[in-house]
């Protein structure tokens, strides 16, 4: 999974999608995850990166992570497989 290329994330947590003109606000842990996605890290790499920095347990974070990814997909912020291949 990868963040769409042209999407800008500011340090303050504002995300702008130039294709749709939509803006989003993201919390700091969300920004970290977006940046890891941009770097094309795998789910496992993202999990261990977050778990090493935050006090949470694996089941909790996995559930929240899946939920977060779901919302990114819902808002068309991730590249789909087809696009990645092309």
């Amino acid at each position: 999974m990868k963040l769409r290329k042209n999407i800008a994330v500011s340090e303050a947590g504002l995300l702008f999608n130039p294709v749709t003109g939509e803006s989003f606000s993201v919390n700091p842990i969300g920004i970290e995850i977006l940046n890891l996605l941009r770097e094309e890290k795998t789910d496992e790499q993202i999990h261990s990166a977050i778990m090493s920095r935050y006090s949470t347990d694996k089941p909790t974070f996995e559930k929240d992570y899946q939920d977060f990814i779901g919302i990114l997909k819902h808002n068309n912020l991730l590249e789909s497989h087809e696009e990645t291949k092309a």
Binding site: S55, T56, T60, D67, F68, N75
Partner: protein, 452 residues
């Protein structure tokens, strides 16, 4: 290296323009303490969920209400509406503050007597008073508010039998411009029923008509309706005086003042918009002072205010069980607080505050209770900071009706704790146990054995 406090990752689309149905977020401070005691400690010591009542807030509120009326009208008496919250400790606080008791059933009547309230200071309302209840009330010289003619005749017969002359009032219903009009209780003013009842009492020797009573509705947001009610009862009292040369000693305007809660669907929070005690007092005292009573013959004004005196003093503490998403992507949060103990969530958008620190990120959330039922919704939509599993929340303004209308459904009812004036906690109602429940049941002998 110490790790950072975990918060769920969230992303939220920014909408420009109108506030949405989730309203604007107003919670910028967690509620970590109640009257000086840490919420965490309360929940650790007494469990979750937990009702907490502030004695300070009760006393402050009743004193504020009394002041609003007493500075405007010379003779005011509050009577605590038992049905609003009849935990003995709570009633006792109101009685210490000088309130009489207002009861609507034999059970509530006995509760007031068992607490030590002088029978003469108990107002007995309601459509159902058994002969046994009435006999007691007559013997104790309580104020009996007659709801219908059948009751009037019963009281007359019992008075004869007991060789007593009970003090009575009639409950009057009337058009005050408020819809729906509460006309199922008492005698109607406009169609002459009230006069008919008054004539019957005045022509019988065995009852003394001491008052006129009304209760025009509940959670009233229009003080003007009380002005109309007060004027109509004043006019009725003056006409009785004129016709029978008989003095009506008090006018009882019932309860119904709105508390600081926010009604479901209201656009602005009730704490900002609902009328104050001063607003109600101004209209009511003007109506009475502007009527034709002579200064020295002004009737006593009785108020049976319930919810407005206790809602703010009550908090319900609870814990987050889980966060989920609905099939449409909506955030759902499940609490251990259901509508079985928070009955008033059917009427109000209760304010909910996290009990621990949070960031300024928020999410639009639907708050559910733990009951396996579709109706178990605490808030259909709330904009709340991110809550994790096991986080604690404080629900505000729950003091009225919840601790009387709660249901023992699926689970046992929780502890109720009072925080006293010195900020010390006291359990005033113990959490129920399975033994409590089972002690009321009996299993016939032939059902005692089974094989499954």
């Amino acid at each position: 290296m110490t790790k950072l406090r975990y918060e769920r990752p969230v992303i939220k689309k920014l909408e420009t323009g109108m506030p949405n149905k989730f309203g604007t977020r107003t919670e910028y401070q967690p509620m970590t303490h109640l009257d000086g005691i840490a919420v965490e400690k309360l929940m650790k010591d007494y469990g979750s969920p937990l009702f907490v009542i502030s004695e300070k807030t009760i006393r402050k509120t009743i004193q504020k209400a009394k002041k609003a009326f007493k500075t405007r009208y010379p003779r005011v008496q509050f009577a605590w509406s038992y049905k609003t919250n009849y935990l003995n400790a709570i009633c006792s606080i109101f009685h210490q503050e000088g309130s009489w008791a207002e009861v609507v059933s034999g059970f509530e009547y006995d509760k007031a007597i068992s607490l030590g309230v002088d029978g003469k200071k108990i107002i007995f309302n309601g459509p159902e008073k058994s002969e046994e209840d009435l006999t007691k009330a007559i013997k104790n010289d309580s104020l009996i508010h007659i709801d219908h003619l059948d009751e009037l005749y019963t009281i007359s017969e019992l008075a004869e039998k007991q060789k007593a002359r009970p003090r009575v009032a009639i409950r009057v219903n009337m058009d005050t411009g408020v819809y729906p009009m509460w006309d199922r209780f008492g005698f109607n003013y406009e169609n002459g029923q009230a006069w008919d009842a008054i004539n019957k009492i005045m022509h019988s020797d065995n009852m003394e008509l001491v008052g006129l009573h009304c209760h025009i509705g509940t959670f009233m947001l229009a003080p003007s309706a009380y002005g109309i009610a007060a004027s109509k009862l004043a006019e009725l009292a003056l006409s009785v005086q004129e016709k029978y040369k008989h003095e009506i000693k008090y006018i009882d305007l019932g309860g119904g003042f709105a508390s600081k809660n926010t009604l479901k669907g209201a656009y602005l929070p009730g704490s900002d918009t609902n009328p104050t005690f001063d607003d109600f007092a101004e209209v009511i005292s003007s109506a009475l002072l502007n009527s034709n009573f002579k200064q020295e013959k002004l009737p006593m004004l009785i108020l049976e205010t319930g919810r407005a005196l206790i809602d703010e003093a009550g908090y319900l503490l609870g814990s987050v069980i889980s966060n989920k998403r609905s099939s449409t992507g909506r955030r759902n949060t499940i609490l251990d607080i259901g509508v079985n103990i928070l009955f008033t969530s059917f009427w109000y958008d209760h304010k909910i505050t996290p009990a621990q620190a949070f960031t300024h990120y928020s999410e639009d959330t639907c708050i559910y209770g733990p009951l396996c039922m579709n109706i178990d919704v605490i808030r259909e939509s709330a904009s709340l900071p991110l809550l994790n599993k096991d986080d604690h929340v404080v629900i505000h303004n729950v003091g009225a009706y919840n601790m009387t209308q709660w249901m023992q459904f699926i689970a046992l009812r929780p502890n109720v704790v009072l925080i006293d004036m010195d900020e010390k906690p006291h359990v005033i109602r113990l959490r129920e146990t399975l033994d409590n429940m089972n002690s009321m049941e009996k299993v016939p002998a032939h059902l005692k054995k089974f094989n499954v």
